[in-house]
Amino acid sequence: MFGLPDITLLTVGITIVVVIAALVYWGLTFEGHD
């Protein structure tokens, strides 16, 4: 797809999904009271 090997799409795609999931988790669990 897109002229790219599967390994490139998979490694880059999975990394991005994991990073976004981690940051969403942080946002949902951080209460942040001053």
């Binding site: 490694t11 880059v12 991005i16």
Partner: protein, 507 residues
């Protein structure tokens, strides 16, 4: 290319706008706290865009696309880990620093280090001097980027380009402090992100589309479309050290981490990491793809890069010149590049000003100095740092990205271990921090020198070491911290509690 009236008008308007922000911000400066941490009053979007603007540097446009042109997809990790550095900074450093700063009144990260390690003179001074050195290295890279753009745009000599860029940035930073830097960054980041999102797809379209670009790259060398390059510089081990370098090194850089002291409310840390990652990440990916498109266009003979040693840093400039042959757009694009560079340059100069006036002068040399004198000294140092770095940038390096990574590498080796160990390990001691910081700084400078000048020493070719040079000095700093801390007297429990030291983040 030669300058035309439209381009001159667009760029001049941008410069005038930045100076106007400086003039407006200068009216808000009543004391050193206003100048250095914007009175701890920044809102969510000003903070997010300040972080993006601080991290997004000259490398973000010229260097990112230049590296994409040179090494292809194996460099794509830069586009994930640079935007992630903002989240790393907020989550692992920001929450604790902000919470402790509420009662301790920190102005700089050196205030935290002095408090946590009970070292008001030695560690503070070392951290300030190290911060000044790494910020100067980083600044030279930024000025080089500004000069490349102005030389391209106006066909003027390097020295004149440097003077113009230095003067504008220096004036608004010196008079407006962090208020000016933050609001300028807000505008600069919006210009950058909107500009890249509009212009990068046009370059990719004119190169034949995303799929065509990847196919051409694969035909040049199949490794250019792989996620790593086993036969080149971007093999898996190197990418691992590269990720640490970018994510942790940028997060602990003084000019980045000091921003967390300027927010109004800790609740902004809830979604700032995600917002920054998504916004900045999108722009960064598009920039890298523009570099790929430039490679395709050069390969297909659509345009040729100039015959200079750092030709790849010009790829996006030539790409835009070909794809959008409308003079007004060149001026707008020049403003985008200038915005990216200046948003880091101003923050670096202000950070150097803070380290000299607050950490060295007020906290070490003259504790009885008045607030007025500290404020005045901050402004003088901003001016001096701008001028001295400009002189250093007169001989530009071969490749912009390399110099800027070198600056980040020295930051990683110097600050990451004392900060992470200080916040999360109650066993970390003053002597451990001093050893980690000094050894990290010295070994990073040595390894960086050996790597940059391709030295072969004791049978090791430093040009081809498998990891980024900073990773070795980072490991040396970790070992120094652990060994020396175990052997020396522990920090008092009172200080450890005050600084919220321990393996937790207060949620």
């Amino acid at each position: 290319m030669a300058a035309d009236p439209v381009t001159i008008a667009v760029v001049s308007l941008y410069f005038i706008g930045m100076l106007a922000i400086g003039a407006w911000a200068s009216k808000k400066i009543k004391n050193t706290e206003d100048y250095l941490v914007a009175g701890r009053s920044l809102g969510f979007w000003v903070f997010v865009l300040l972080m993006i603007g601080t991290v997004c540097s000259g490398m973000s446009l010229l260097g990112v696309s230049g590296l994409g042109y040179k090494a292809g997809w194996p460099t794509i990790w830069e586009q994930i880990f640079v935007p992630l550095s903002i989240g790393f900074c907020v989550i692992f450093f920001g929450v604790k620093l902000h919470n402790v700063a509420k009662t301790s009144g920190y102005m700089t990260v050196q205030d935290y280090l002095a408090h946590r390690y009970e070292s008001p003179v030695a560690l503070r001074s070392l951290a300030a001097v190290a911060g000044i050195i790494v910020s100067m290295i980083y600044l030279v890279g930024q000025y080089t980027a500004i000069a490349i753009v102005l030389m391209w745009l106006f066909a003027i000599p390097l020295w004149l380009a440097l003077i113009i860029a230095t003067l504008v940035t220096m004036v608004y930073t010196a008079i407006g402090g962090l208020y000016a830097v933050a609001w300028a960054s807000l505008i600069q980041s919006v210009i950058l992100i909107v500009g890249v999102i509009i212009m990068a797809p046009i370059i990719i379209f004119y190169a034949g589309g995303f799929t065509h670009v990847n196919e051409v790259m694969a035909s040049i060398n199949p490794n250019l479309v792989m996620p790593w390059n086993p036969s080149g510089a971007f093999a898996v081990p190197y990418i691992f050290s590269f990720a640490i370098l970018l994510m942790v090194g940028l997060a602990c850089a003084p000019h980045v981490i000091n921003n967390v002291l300027s927010i109004r409310d800790v609740k902004y840390f809830k979604w700032a990491p995600l917002a920054a990652f998504l916004i900045y990440g999108a722009a960064m990916f598009l920039l890298k793809f523009s570099g790929f498109a430039g490679l395709t266009m050069v390969k297909e003979g659509i345009f040729a890069l100039p015959a200079v040693t750092n030709a790849q840093d010009y790829v996006i400039l030539y790409g835009i010149q070909y794809s959008i042959p409308t003079i007004a757009f060149w001026g707008i694009f020049a403003v985008i590049v200038l915005a990216a560079v200046m948003s880091t340059t101003d923050r670096l100069m202000l950070t150097i000003g803070a380290m000299v006036s607050w950490d060295l002068y007020k906290k070490v040399l003259r504790p009885d100095a008045s607030d007025k004198n500290v404020l005045l000294l901050s402004k003088i140092v901003v001016v001096l740092s701008a001028i001295s770095t400009m002189i250093l940038a007169i001989n530009p390096p071969d490749m912009l990205a390399i110099l800027i990574w070198m600056g980040i590498g020295v930051m990683l080796s110097t600050f990451a271990v004392p900060l992470l160990a200080g916040m999360y390990w109650r066993g970390a001691t003053r002597q451990g921090a001093l050893a980690a910081m000094s050894l990290g700084l010295v070994t990073a400078l040595i390894f960086g020198f050996l790597n940059y000048f391709k030295v072969v020493f004791a049978g090791v070719n430093f040009a081809t070491i498998p990891l980024h040079f900073s990773f070795y000095s980072f490991v040396i700093a970790i070992i120094a911290m652990i060994v020396v801390s175990i052997a020396t007297k522990k920090t008092t429990e009172k200080i450890l509690d005050e600084t919220q030291t321990g393996w937790y983040i207060s949620k």
